[in-house]
Amino acid sequence: MGWFLEANFILIGIITILMAFGTLSTKKVMRAAAFLLLTLVGVALTYLFLGFEFLMGIQITVYAGGILILFLFSVLLTGHEEFKMDLEFAKENIVQILISILLFFTLTALMLSIYGNYQLTGNELVLQAQTKGLTQDFSVALFSHFNYVLPILGVLLFSAMLGSVKLVLREEEL
């Protein structure tokens, strides 16, 4: 059973990374948005594997369903640009590519060495707790301990709404 889960996770992980790379390398912006959708779904599946199915739902509905629509609209409104990730691109961005590769290796090295082999007993503990109603615990925490933060999140969305409405509306339409 364990190896099956692991294999599945690895598969989904690899697909997610490939999709993420796809968003950056595909020809058209519209396709990039489609790849992003797949990446987000992949990340959502990761959440499932990590024992938090509620966030998977949120990820798919809000992110893939909501934010992605925004992207599609903005792609439609701002026109298309052809993009090619070819040798020319590599030559132009040699420094950036180097930086990214270095970043990946230093980051992964640090992450694995510092957080790897992480408290396996603790791991067991929580994943078992999940079976006893994780979503319930989560909502209790959200609405008791963190209930004073929710209004602030509301403020954030409010200001984002204000700003985007102001910026997007044509003034003549007012």
């Binding site: 420094v95 950036q96 930086i99 990214s100 270095l102 970043l103 230093t106 980051l107 090295a109 640090l110 060495s113 510092i114």
Partner: protein, 702 residues
């Protein structure tokens, strides 16, 4: 009671600054209004009496603010003095001082006001003379385009000097000491369009700086050794010092005095400083800048006294006071001789100042604070008076050279009267203020135990003779001698100045007479003893043998007589003396200021010369012959030239180089600004990689 005194002292110190602040703002606005072209050569101030004495509203406002703020300071000073001297505070220190910005680490460096007999006495002199000189300047500077600037700077200067007087710690005193130098720089170079004025200001500043280096090192050593700079705490702390340390500190501090109070060999700047407006000379010479050195030595006199304890022994350590006294005596003589050959009236007075200050320093060196401060008072009054009247004379005859004047006593009677009184004071005429104070100095020297005190005394007496001689000389040449034919017209049109040009000198003349009356020792009241009681409680004056004042009086009278004989009755002798083969080189030697400037320049330039020679040697191998030739030609043009080359080539080169590096770096940093977001983001990412690398380094490698 004490708080009252402190508030008065605060009033004394702050009033000039407030006036200066107002005037500075005003000067800025004025400066902006006149389109930044404040003054040019054509707008020189000396053209004004043709238009009569009509003050512009601007001038009225400015001078009123300036004079009022000084007047306020003076009133506070009077109140303070009355309060202080009428309450019994023998030797008591009344201070307010709070920790430096309230932070415990620097608690030993304090800022505050120190009100004791010495500062009150000095403050009284400064405010009184500053007030009179300010009034004088109201008319003297009339018509000058820089009127607001002048008063702003002048008030600032007065305020700085008063702050110096009331400083409570060496740290504070040094700050104001430097500020005195700075503001005197501004005042001496007031007519910036005159190259000579700019040069003189620069020279004064540089010469002062040389001394300041010594002073700074002196008081830093003091701080290092005692851990405090507070004047109140120092006297107790210095007992722990070894005699050698005390002597070293004393001499280093005296280095500052050599610069500021114009002692040998750094005294030549004072004569050049005459390029400033006359009120500036008057205030610099009477009570402020050059007296700051005397004041400082008096302030830290316990230090010198500590060094003085015990037997004098040149092989040992106790030579600090001897250095002071000997430097002073030599300066007195040299400067007196210099005054004898000078032809410009203000320069005569300048050298006379040097000579007289040396008397004060001599008194300090001989171990008497009282005699020094005594002479300071009398000298301040008559020297201010002499400068103001000299300014008035120059003002009416449009020349500085005494030989182009003559027979002015009838044309400008008020000025003449005032100047004559001042001159009598300076010459030390028996019974007049200068006589008593000089006598006190000479007596101190005579009875002191400084090595060679008899020689010092003789030098003092000789200087007294010379003083009388040159005083008589310029009075007779300016006021009694018939003018030469080409100058008759110039003298014909002379007439007394207006109200503010004549009244302050007359008040000063009255002060001189008043002082003379006060100074006469009577069985009931002896000024010197009274002063000593306040300044040096517990010290008693020597019983002075009657022969000393009599000797002094005879010498002075002899000097005056010689002067009258030489310059009035028998001018021919002088003329033939001037032709004498022996006299001419001596005269020339003195007139060239004993080549002090040349020697100093040479000393300053030897390192520069060596470096430029080295550079030259390097150049020979690299650069072609012609350039080397020019270098050699330049080198042979004289040391000064080389120093110029050094200045411009190396110093300017370094300055420009630093500036260019900064600018180039600035431009390079600007190159980062490509304007493209991706590049900016790349910088972020690169920085992130570097940080992660740093963490890797810390965790895995270290």
């Amino acid at each position: 009671m004490e708080s009252e005194i402190i508030y008065y002292a605060l009033g004394v110190v702050t009033s000039p600054f407030i006036g200066s602040l107002i005037l500075t703002i005003f000067a800025f606005i004025h400066y902006a209004k006149t389109h930044g072209h404040e003054e040019t050569e054509e707008n020189n101030h000396e053209e004004h009496e043709e238009h009569g004495l009509k003050y512009t509203p601007l001038e009225n406002f400015v001078s009123t603010i300036g004079i009022l703020s000084i007047f306020a300071s003076w009133v506070f000073m009077l109140l303070l003095a009355i309060k202080f001297f009428t309450t019994e505070h023998h030797g008591a220190f009344l201070t307010t001082s709070y920790d430096f910005f309230g932070f415990p680490v620097t608690q030993n460096i304090q800022v505050g006001l120190l009100v004791d007999a010495l500062s009150v006495y000095m403050g009284l002199i400064v405010t009184t003379l500053a007030l009179l000189i300010h009034m004088y300047a109201r008319e003297y500077m009339h018509g000058d385009k820089g009127y607001p600037r002048f008063f702003a700077t002048f008030n600032f200067f007065t305020g700085i000097m008063l702050s110096l007087v009331f400083s409570s710690s060496f740290f504070e005193l040094f700050i104001f000491w430097e500020l005195v130098g700075l503001s005197s720089y501004l005042l001496i170079g007031f007519w910036i369009f005159k190259p000579s004025a700019a040069h003189a200001a620069k020279k004064a500043f540089l010469y002062n700086k040389v001394g300041d280096v010594a002073l700074l090192s002196g008081f830093l050593i003091l701080y290092k050794l005692t851990g405090t700079l507070n004047f109140m705490e120092l006297p107790d702390k210095i007992h722990n010092l070894t005699p050698l340390q005390t002597a070293l500190i004393s001499v280093l501090i005296f280095g500052g005095v050599i610069g500021k109070s114009a002692q040998f060999p750094l005294y030549t700047w004072l004569a050049d400083a005459m390029e400033g407006p006359t009120p500036v000379s008057a205030i610099l010479h009477s009570s402020t800048m050059v007296k700051a050195g005397v004041y400082m030595v008096a302030r830290v006199f316990f230090l010198y006294w500590q060094a003085h304890e015990g037997e004098y022994n040149f092989a040992g350590d106790n030579w600090a006071l001897a250095v002071v006294a000997w430097v002073a005596a030599i300066t007195a003589l040299l400067a007196g001789l210099q005054a004898l050959v000078e032809n410009e009236i203000k320069r005569i007075l300048a050298y006379s100042t040097v000579s007289q200050i040396s008397y004060m320093v001599l008194a300090l060196g001989a171990g008497s604070k009282t005699a020094a401060m005594y002479h300071l008072l009398s000298h301040a009054t008559f020297k201010a008076l002499l400068f103001l009247t000299a300014g008035a004379v120059i003002h009416v005859v449009h020349t500085n050279n005494i030989w182009e004047m003559g027979n002015l006593r009838k044309k400008i009677p008020k000025t003449f009267t005032a100047m004559l009184i001042g001159a009598i004071g300076l010459s030390g005429f028996p019974g007049i203020s200068g006589f008593w104070s000089k006598d006190a100095v000479l007596a101190t020297v005579y009875y002191s135990d400084v090595p060679g005190n008899k020689i010092l005394f003789t030098l003092g007496v000789v200087t007294a003779f010379i003083t009388a001689l040159y005083t008589t000389r310029f009075i007779i040449v300016v006021f009694f001698r018939e003018p030469t034919p080409e100058n008759i017209e110039r003298v014909e049109h002379a007439h007394d100045g207006g109200f503010f040009l004549t009244i302050p000198p007359l008040i000063m003349a009255a002060l001189v007479i008043l002082e003379s009356l006060t100074f006469i020792p009577t069985p009931i009241f002896k000024f010197e003893e009274w002063l000593m009681e306040w300044l040096e409680p517990g010290v008693h004056a020597h019983e002075v043998a009657l022969t000393l004042p009599i000797l002094s009086a005879i010498v002075v009278l002899l000097g005056i007589g010689t002067g009258i004989y030489l310059y009035y009755y028998n001018y021919n002798i002088l003329a033939s003396l001037n032709q004498n083969k022996v006299i001419i080189p001596i005269r020339e030697f003195i007139a060239q200021r004993y080549y002090i400037d040349k020697v100093l320049y040479w000393i300053a330039n030897v390192p520069a010369m060596i470096v430029s020679r080295l550079l030259q040697d390097i150049d020979i191998k690299i650069i072609d012959r012609t350039i080397i030739d020019t270098w050699i030609v330049k080198g042979s043009l004289g040391l000064a030239k080389i120093s110029d080359v050094f200045d411009q080539g190396i110093i300017d080169g370094i300055v420009n180089g630093v500036w260019m590096i900064a600018l180039t770096l600035g431009r390079a940093f600007r190159k980062l600004q490509t304007g493209i977001v991706s590049n900016y983001a790349s910088i972020f990412a690169a920085a992130l990689v570097i940080f992660l690398g740093y963490v890797n380094f810390l965790i895995f490698i270290k």
